[in-house]
């Protein structure tokens, strides 16, 4: 049995939470998974809470997933996208958020292109902050739902070998995943071209491998990340085609391994680049389970944070 409450008021990153918190989130997510599979998928727990989803960066899955989680907990939801707001007129982050808070918002779910935006906000405003991705820093709910999906598929995360393949340099998913999986007792490896692996990543205690086949032969789970072309200011590899040949996961590679591994992807998928369609849609892929679990895990996070209102 996990502890009775979270050790934190905000969820800014995996770095700020502990093993007990993760176990409590997973246990609560189990209950919410049951809720979202009922004929009536809604519970009234957060009916007196207002949550603002503030997205300074594009998102489909995360935003939808958070919004569904909030609505299934009966919270009131306001949405805000930077592209259609006064941010484009020059308003600062604090001003924007303070204005939203003046409308009596209890919790803020924020995605921002700069690392540390969530931490900064949590020091200046009263509402509880949930980080939905800050720059190339952290994306804690994604890491939680990835680990939760591994736990569901393989029974436990402890002792499992997970390789994260692709654009580690620009990925917040990679950092949060590494921290979360290690805390739960998994072994983590990163794999990708030298240019996309940060120089000091080994200091986090992960293995580094540049050969995809070797990495796949080692692992139980492969988490294939997207090449984040929008964040790549210079060329990190000659062409997408060459990347796909060296680091793309296809059916042939998968079938030639001596064991059956689990394939994950945080989405959105660039089909034919990091993963081919037949792999993404195969029975070894748990990509859609990840999306389903995303709602349950986010419900758990919001519920547990809301319970420590003071």
């Amino acid at each position: 049995m996990a502890a009775e409450k979270l050790s934190t008021r905000h969820l800014l990153g995996i770095k700020d939470i502990n093993l007990n918190d993760i176990e409590l989130i997973f246990e609560t997510a189990d209950n919410f998974k049951d809720v979202i599979n009922r004929p009536i998928k809604k519970v009234p727990s957060l009916r007196d809470i207002t949550i603002a989803n503030i997205f300074f960066e594009n998102s489909t899955r995360t935003k939808l997933s958070f919004e569904l989680a909030e609505k299934r907990l009966s919270a009131d939801v306001v949405n805000f996208a930077a592209s259609s707001s006064s941010v484009s007129k020059g308003e600062t982050l604090i001003d924007t958020v303070n204005n939203i808070l003046a409308m009596k918002v209890d919790m803020v779910v924020m995605r921002h292109p700069y690392a540390g935006a969530g931490v900064f906000l949590s020091k200046h405003i009263k509402a509880q902050i949930v980080n939905a991705g800050d720059g190339a820093h952290e994306h804690p709910t994604q890491a939680l739902l990835d680990a939760y999906s591994i736990r569901q598929k393989l029974g436990d995360v402890r002792g499992k070998k997970v390789v994260i393949v692709g654009d580690i340099l620009h990925s917040r998913v990679a950092i949060s995943n590494i921290l979360c999986l290690q805390m739960l007792g998994a072994e983590v490896m990163v794999c990708g071209p030298t240019t996309l692996i940060p120089k000091h990543i080994a200091s986090l205690g992960v293995k580094v491998e540049h050969d995809l086949k070797k990495a796949l032969n080692w692992c139980d789970v492969a988490n294939m990340l997207r090449i984040q072309l929008e964040r790549q200011d210079i060329k990190y590899f000659p062409s997408q085609r060459e990347y796909a040949m060296m680091y793309g996961l296809n059916k042939q590679i998968l079938d030639n391994l001596d064991k059956e591994i689990v394939v994950m992807h945080p989405g959105p998928i660039n089909r034919g680049v990091e993963i081919t369609s037949d792999v993404a849609d195969s029975k070894q892929s748990i990509i859609l389970e990840q999306v389903e679990n995303g709602v349950a895990v986010r419900m758990a996070v919001l519920y547990l944070l809301a319970s420590q209102n003071d």
Binding site: K5, N31, R38, V43, D48
Partner: protein, 184 residues
């Protein structure tokens, strides 16, 4: 802490048998009736009633489920600490069924209010009845009354009623705990 035993030994067994016979009187063979124990402590009572009914009616087809009400409570964020949720196990359809909600102690009625909400998320039952082992009468916050009562007790708010079950505490008994009165 002063303890007074309200129910134990043979009387405890007789009470459960009597409640089962009352249920049979109204629901005959339980073809359209299901038992739902309220998590966490009502489930022990529901298990016992289910076992007893199965023996009396010599059948294995009586349906029983467990219902968790954590997310439907009305004191979320108003009370210190978090109540951890338990599992729901209702693997049958509630729609159109007669449901017997089962809990160990009825006090303010708020748990039952939440249980009715939680239950309706599974469909629209034809009828819902309430069975409790102990009814702390005259202490309701809501207009809720049980249909089947093991025993009624009169006690004040500072007193606690504790039900123990053979399955989890080794003995079937109900005790009333009260703080000794301090002389002024």
């Amino acid at each position: 802490m002063q303890k007074r035993t309200l129910l134990n030994g043979q009387k405890f067994q007789i009470t459960i048998k009597r409640l089962c016979h009352q249920l049979i009187e109204n629901h005959t063979d339980f073809t359209n009736t299901v038992l739902i124990g309220i998590q966490p402590r009502g489930t022990y009572f529901a298990d016992r009633v289910h076992q007893e009914l199965s023996e009396i009616l010599k059948t294995k087809s009586i349906k029983k489920g467990n219902l968790d009400i954590t997310f439907f409570r009305d004191d979320f964020r108003r009370k210190d600490g978090l109540v951890t949720a338990s599992s729901n196990t209702i693997d049958f359809i509630i729609e159109g069924k007669q449901v017997i909600l089962i809990d160990d102690v009825l006090w303010t009625g708020r748990t039952i209010r939440a249980a009715m909400d939680a239950l309706l998320a599974y469909g629209r039952p034809e009828k819902v009845e309430l069975m409790v082992l102990i009814d702390r009468r005259f202490s309701r916050h809501l207009p809720i009354e049980p249909n089947y009562i093991g025993q009624q007790v009169d006690c004040v708010d500072s007193q606690k009623v504790k039900v123990s079950w053979k399955e989890n505490e080794g003995e079937d008994k109900v005790i009333l705990l009260s703080e000794p009165s301090t002389p002024k």
